[in-house]
Symmetry: C2
Subunit: 164 residues, 2 copies
């Protein structure tokens, strides 16, 4: 039994609400938001996004990785976005381990050697946001006229605060 | 002027609705959903997710990459998820280019040589879902007892269909 079956049932009600409409492939506000996979963050309502407004990229931590650069290049060069928001959050799972402790755990529990692999944990949220904003600014694949902002989301209050 | 300022304003209303509450770090339904960054897909309402229910991972195409494996290992081994849903969608931006054409475009417009890099475009949605489900099943970092489902989201109707 999978939980996926429940989603399929819930989706039936959503289809009735959705109706049949074709929105453009290119996001209306020309923004891509990069944030964490955390379950307590629902990006669209927290930022006031309507369907079709913005690309949403999510991984563990909301970190800038090669895959995020790949996605942003497609977002910008194929689909016309001109702005990026990097948003990390309080009480993040990426603050619960170190690479060394996690490598030991995976060796013990999965029998897989991941020593040397960076799972991108962090301690200081604002520092991680600034680090990732700077990675984007330094990338030759992200044009200099792309507007890049940093932010922190508070999972307890829902509040977003800009990081300068 | 950035669009991000608008999000900060919209977020003020969300904070009032949200109230102050602390939900657990570990997702309630123990599911991680991998899907595309597309602006016309709002994952939580489409699947009936409440705040705190499930991890949501998103990149260009909803493709399985090293960064997705990194995120899923954290999701499963640190945060207790036991199920993955891989969901691609109709009218995807990853269907609008080939690696060769995109490399030529980036060389011309950004002056960057990305020849040989795979931006993970695809033609057939169901085939790409099956391909990515199989990548997860083959990964030594994803335990065999993790339940993995595949699905397609229709951006015009909001309907989710299982891919077997």
């Amino acid at each position: 039994m999978s939980y996926f079956e429940n989603y399929l049932n819930a989706n039936k009600a959503y289809v009735d609400l959705h109706g049949n409409k074709h929105l453009p492939l290119k996001p209306k506000t020309r923004v891509a938001i990069l944030t964490c996979m955390d379950s307590r963050l629902h990006v669209a309502p927290a930022l006031g996004l309507a369907l079709g407004d913005a690309h949403i990229l999510r991984n563990a931590g909301g970190r800038v990785t090669d895959d995020v650069i790949r996605s942003l290049v497609i977002s910008q060069q194929q689909l016309g976005t001109r702005e990026v928001v990097v948003m990390h959050h309080t009480d993040c799972g990426a603050q619960t381990f170190t690479n060394d402790s996690f490598a030991q755990q995976l060796q013990r529990d999965l029998g897989v050697d991941v020593e040397g692999q960076d799972f991108l944990p962090f301690d200081d949220i604002e520092a991680s946001v600034r680090h990732d904003v700077n990675l984007l600014k330094a990338s030759p694949l992200i044009p200099d006229d792309i507007v890049i902002s940093g932010a922190v989301y508070d999972v307890d209050t829902g509040r977003i605060t800009e990081v300068n």
